[in-house]
């Protein structure tokens, strides 16, 4: 188990008039190689939760163990923790800062103590892994490349120090449909080829349905469900939490109401088409 969260609670601006409980008694674990989705309406505590994982937010109460590092301990080796976790915030392209793409991506490895040569070769590898043409982008300013390229460069910055866990906060926000697809395929293939654990925060339930094996749902600062996407969309009323149900699921539910029962495990378009053709197969003209 790579992450163990036990009875974690967090309150912002404690003992001030602005006091606000962001997380209440959260417990769950994340296993190596998992693709976990975290969903919840705006303000449900998702960002607060993931910022605990690399120590950006100091543990207030409860237990948290990440990559065998106890975050409740008096002395925490934050450097080791952060090297193990690649955290990509919303709109990561706004955080590119160096003069060239290469220098930007090398920043992490250099900070983690790699030599210049090592940092250069890891950065190169990371840029290629992120799907960028290394020679074409390395000497350009991160401000000059396109939006999609910027986001890839930001991902490369995280991949460059080879973290064990990738935590992505809305990795496709603001991208167009083909950009979204490319980004998710990239993340999914990184996970398959390198066995990285991926934790993805998303509002896009179609993405959660298509890519995640497991999903946890936060609502009003609490962990409400820890389940599979299909179970979540078919067995729980998530609309009241301000969450959307994927179109495919809406269509399947409406068909069931009209007497066409295709099952309760369909979350993708391909599966829906497969079931529909199986259902109507014989009556086909």
């Amino acid at each position: 188990m790579q992450i163990e969260v036990k009875n974690l609670s967090y309150t912002y601006s404690k003992k001030t008039p602005y006091e606000k409980q962001a997380l209440r008694d959260i417990s769950f674990t994340v296993n190596e190689g998992e693709f976990l989705g975290i969903v919840g309406a705006t303000g449900s505590g998702k960002s607060t939760l993931i910022q605990h994982f690399n120590g950006l937010i100091k543990l207030q109460s409860g237990q948290l163990n990440v990559l065998d590092i106890d975050l409740a301990a008096k002395k925490v080796d934050y450097k080791a923790l952060r090297r193990g976790i690649g955290m990509l915030f919303q709109y990561p392209e706004y955080q590119l800062f160096a003069d060239t793409v290469l220098a930007d991506v090398m920043f992490g490895p250099l900070n983690f103590g790699m030599s210049k040569e090592e940092a250069h070769s890891s950065a190169k590898e990371a840029l290629i892994l992120a799907g960028l043409d290394f020679d074409a982008v390395k000497d350009r300013s991160p401000l000059e490349i396109s939006g999609g390229q910027k986001r890839r460069a930001a991902i490369a910055g995280v991949l460059s120090y080879n973290p064990k866990i990738l935590i992505l906060d809305e990795p496709t926000a603001g991208l167009d449909p083909s950009g979204k697809r490319e980004m998710l395929n990239l993340i999914s293939s990184l996970r398959k080829t390198s066995g990285k654990t991926v934790i993805m925060v998303s509002h896009n339930m179609d993405e959660i349905a298509r890519y995640c094996e497991r999903v946890i749902v936060l609502g009003e600062s609490e962990l409400l469900y820890d389940t599979t996407p299909a179970e979540l969309f078919y067995n729980y009323d998530i609309a009241t939490l301000g969450l959307d149900v994927p179109h495919v699921v809406k269509i399947v539910k409406k068909l069931r109401d009209k007497g066409i029962d295709l099952g309760t495990d369909i979350v993708t378009e391909e599966k829906l088409l497969e079931r529909l053709t199986a259902f109507f197969g014989k009556e086909r003209i």
């Binding site: 919303q90 000059e144 167009d176």
Partner: protein, 277 residues
């Protein structure tokens, strides 16, 4: 119908040391007063540049843009044009000016010289329209991304624009927030008669528009009602945009030999499938 905005063969390119980037490549377009128009296009299709041409934020290299009959090239009237055409951007963080929300909303009307009593009314109305009145005395910096965007929209609304342009303004909102903002924008269009131009790459946001304009490589690829647009599957696929799920499923079923007409929304698809029995 009366035209509120007219674009006549407009061209615009960005110039830098690396050369020029042709963003808008000869676009002619009419926006009717009171209409709801959606601009669809992938990143780099020219839709944001076109939006900036519509309120005089950018002026075309060649061709003309008229707002309520006034050419955006007439420098003396640029403030008049900009108060008529309000532009809400993608990133709300770049649109906050004050440390208290009601001051932020009041900033626009204050600059327009609106009397104080009316400013108070407008701030009230604008905050209610985006469902954020409970936060009026808070600071915007502590809000979530979605809430900030609703404040940014309220800030534009307070200037009572004739035309409201939303440039991917819902892309950071959660589904609930997105729905609220879209409902707000639709109500502003239907009830207050505000002309709305919604720029998006969510196809489903285009479904109840009066007019959909699909942009590709700085040109208008197709223009028409949602049904006319989505019937042109080959053209849509060229733009790298995605069909709404119901439309996609209906096309695939048709391809498999089932008698399913093009369906834009879920209910329509469900009915067509039920008829197969």
């Amino acid at each position: 119908m009366e035209k509120i905005i007219e674009v006549k063969n407009a061209f615009y390119s960005y110039k830098s040391e690396d050369g020029t980037l042709d963003a808008v490549n000869g676009i002619s377009l009419d926006i009717e007063r009171g209409s709801f128009t959606v601009f669809l296009g992938h990143n780099g299709s020219g839709k944001s540049t076109l939006a900036k041409l519509l309120n005089g934020f950018l002026v075309p290299d060649s061709g003309d843009v008229f707002v309520d009959g006034v050419n955006t090239k007439v420098e003396e009237r640029v403030f008049e044009i900009r108060s008529k055409v309000g532009l809400v951007f993608q990133n709300p963080d770049n649109q906050m000016v004050a440390s208290i929300i009601e001051d932020d909303i009041a900033f626009g009307p204050e600059n327009l010289g609106i009397p104080r009593e009316e400013i108070v009314e407008r701030v009230d109305w604008a905050l209610n329209a985006v469902g954020m009145n409970a936060y009026r005395t808070h600071t915007p910096f502590k809000l979530s991304g979605g809430q900030k965007q609703r404040i940014a929209i309220a800030g534009i609304l307070a200037m009572k624009p004739t035309v409201l342009i939303l440039d991917e303004s819902t892309s950071m909102l959660d589904p609930q927030g997105r729905k609220e903002v879209l409902e707000t924008v639709r109500a502003l269009n239907k009830e207050q008669g505000i002309t709305v131009i919604l720029i998006t790459h969510y196809m489903d946001e285009a479904l109840d528009a009066d007019n959909v304009v699909v942009l590709h490589e700085g040109k208008i690829l197709i223009q028409g009602t949602p049904r006319e647009i989505f019937a042109k599957k080959e053209l849509i696929s060229k733009t790298k945009l995605e069909l709404p799920v119901a439309a996609y499923i209906s096309y695939r079923l048709l391809g498999e030999g089932y008698d399913v007409p093009l369906s834009l929304i879920d209910d329509e698809l469900v009915e067509s499938i039920c008829r197969l029995r």
